[in-house]
Symmetry: C2
Subunit: 208 residues, 2 copies
């Protein structure tokens, strides 16, 4: 029981990192509800005044957290890991690959889901910034791989619609097990969702 009084590190870099990672663990534990100056400082085992000194307040700290975390999947990840190979695929396979990758990317990022949910109820400078990064990332991905289609269908709207549906379902899966009869808690349930998306893709994309 010698935990009462850790000797201070007196190292700004390390202390800063401790604070940043405290944001992460607190976010994972309690969500954004319990994310305050006092709580973060407690979690980090450090005085809250350091948040003001080093990050100029909580927003600054959260911004630092968001920057260092890969809270949003990269273009490469959304393409299934291999950009070269991806760009060579036919359109329908690209879409299927994107669907599967997107689900996986969100499922393994609890913090991203928490932030996405947060954005819906508390828009502020910070969420706007995160939002901007994401919008840009999505658009880059889309332009890169889907822009030059000549299918005659509104591919962009279709992709975004699928993205919206998957985002919603993954976020919901944190709180509920069933949505409209769809099982969100098991891999089989997600297979079913992937399947229907793929079915739509197959019937909508003109085969060459």
């Amino acid at each position: 029981m010698t935990e009462k009084k850790q000797l201070p590190l007196r190292d700004r870099q390390i202390t800063s990192r401790i604070l940043i990672s405290a944001v992460g663990s607190l976010l994972a534990k309690k969500g954004f509800k319990g994310l305050g100056v006092n709580a973060v400082a407690r979690e980090a085992g450090v005085d809250k005044v350091l948040i003001y000194r080093y990050f100029d307040g909580l927003p600054g700290l959260i911004a630092a957290f968001a920057q260092q975390e890969d809270f949003w999947p990269s273009t490469r990840e959304m393409a299934g890991g291999d950009l070269e190979q991806f760009s060579g695929l036919p359109l329908d396979e690209k879409l299927s690959m994107f669907t599967a990758s997107f689900i996986q990317a969100l499922k393994k990022r609890p913090l991203t889901r928490a932030i996405m949910a947060w954005e819906m109820i508390e828009p502020n400078e910070l969420t706007e910034e995160l939002e901007r990064v994401r919008e840009e990332s999505i658009m880059t991905f889309f332009q890169m791989f889907f822009a030059k289609d000549k299918t005659g269908i509104d591919l962009q709207a279709l992709v975004m619609l699928v993205g919206a549906a998957l985002s919603y379902l993954v976020i919901r899966s944190d709180n509920i097990d069933v949505y409209g009869g769809l099982d969100l808690a098991t891999d089989q349930g997600w297979d079913r969702i992937s399947s229907v998306v793929n079915m739509v893709i197959q019937r909508v994309i003109p085969q060459e």
Copy 2:
């Protein structure tokens, strides 16, 4: 300026209604962030102790609010207003009608959107109850009109996928104007979204 001291009504029913409607206006003004005992009492211009006496606390008050509001569209509304007519439509037109009605129903219910967003970050007894009502409503609607299809496709998953996408986009439209290049702020933007859903429906549903 004689507003300082309204004479007390001394009518439990009326006072209760005032409290309930205060929840609504506060929710519309500030969202769930500022929804506390003190704030509601202030908004209602009434002492907060009455919340405990009449509703046994804030959860009870919110429950009362949720019950009296039509926070979730009825089966009839989702069917476009006329159940008879709706049930006579071919499957693809049913789906198109549902899509349009669902968008409209959510767009005109800011409180429903707020509650839906709230459910994603603060699951509790109350949100679970609202959730249950909604799940039941959706399933009833689906069973009633889409259960007996013989199309061979996973109609349920398709409908729920569309519902998820639309829910997400409408909720997002409260905070952002553009999602993945889709315009969420204008009717034209929503026409585009409806169109792509209808296109999917046309190509996916086997025509007779």
